[in-house]
Amino acid sequence: MEEASYNGKRKIELRRLGSYLKYAGRAVFFFGIWDAIKTVITMFLNPIVLGIQQKSDMNAEEQLTQVLSFAVLGIVLWINILIRFYIGRWAIKEGNGERKGLFPLLVTCVYLVIVMVSFVGVLKGFLETANMESFLISFIIELTSALALIIIVVCSWRVRYLEHKVYTH
């Protein structure tokens, strides 16, 4: 029977999908690192943030509100980074043949939906911004990152479908 051999059609496709998962997982992982660098720049090198320390016309309550806002923003950004690391690491393991159940896949699907929805805001900003070049670069990076997530979702579903076919027929 073809499937019993090394090079049955489905086994070859499983290896191909595994390879795609590994590369896409690495891409999501490294985009997570990029997000971390961006977050650090946003939080600590942003002129607005630096400016807070120098503003003397804001009262203590207003300053506290500003600081708390940035703290919450920072927490959300770091959670985003951790989710990317989680998804990237899981996809690499999935590509190596380790199956961790459906939960990571569902997390990836939900995260992908959030990313796609966030594109609306990104596009809005793109249309309003004066600095087209830097926005365009950021947009392309975000788009690539989203594509990597799509590849992970599609390949992971396909792997589960094929494994079910290979080992039950």
Partner: protein
Amino acid sequence: MQEDFHYYATYCAAWLAGYEVSDCSRIAYAAQLVDLCSKTFINRFHGPRAATTTQLKTELADAPTDITGIQDITRVWASFHFLPGNLYAHLPKRNRYYMNRYRLICDVNGTLLADTVNLARKGGVEACGIAMHILADTWAHRYFAGTPSFVINDAGGFYELRETENGVERIKVNFNHNPITADNIEKCSFTNCLKQDSETSVMNLGHGRAGSLPDYSFFKYEFQPAWGDYRILVKDNPSDYYRAFCQMVYAMKCLRSGEQEFETDTYDEETVSPYREEIMAILKKRQLIANEDWKALGEKLTGTALEDFDLLKYGDEYMEAEKGHKEKTFLGRFFVAALAQKSMVTNKIFRSGNLIAGFSIDYGTNGFRGIEDFRMLLEEMKKGAMDDQS
């Protein structure tokens, strides 16, 4: 393959094919010399540099990888160590650039192998030795191409298929890139070339990504070559090496007879079968090199002592010969045979519409328009034609 097979095993095969002991030595020497006849070696004797049959690591490190550099590298490696299996292979949905490299993949029993052995009929024992080296290497180096190409020669997923008391065990091969560390058979730890994404890097030449695994006669393994489209290939070296040995015996019988045309996919198992157990024991013995075992077999077969390989053995003869008589020395005939082989393979690659080995001119029919070194080959060919007529 290594010295154990190219020198000692070829000596044994030549004896079984019916050659005299002295001829066996010369054939074995020529077979091993193919792995050592670099530009550095030839320069030592002021020989024709176009007759190089290999490139040392130091030479490769300096070799350019522009178009002409790639052609130069390909001419050497595809002609002597990675003889293409099918220059007219076809794959759907691949562009010309890819196919030019795919068609150089070495494989056994190709038409070029028959051309190589039959070409050696016109030469002496030196040409026979070169042909035997190439024949043996088609078995060891199959599935890799003699041109730097990432999309062809990259490989991964190496697992040893080790026979144990409990059956066949699948053991992951660990590679490191430190050339100083020795390969460790028991831990399955070997050295290979660094992964280089650049298509034409010399790290992607031949079986660099597989390290020395193709050259270990005992090793049976599976791997995924880049050109395989996620297929797993199993390489059974003990079995392949035995077939190479049987094919060498058959080929040398053809060459010795002078009339019998070599045909591919033919093996003289009848002559070899009385020694099959001994040979398989040598091939399957887990050791990095089997010189001593093959040497012992060779001495047992011939009843005479077999000297170890000495690279400079025929150097003095060549140096002391007068100009115009150098072609009559051992090294001179070796150089002519190497030029003939390189010309033939380059011509075949060129005629298949592939420029990766450069241009080729039929100088025999269209007049001499080439580098000076090949004039020597043309003169020898003319002498051979006149001898045939007389």
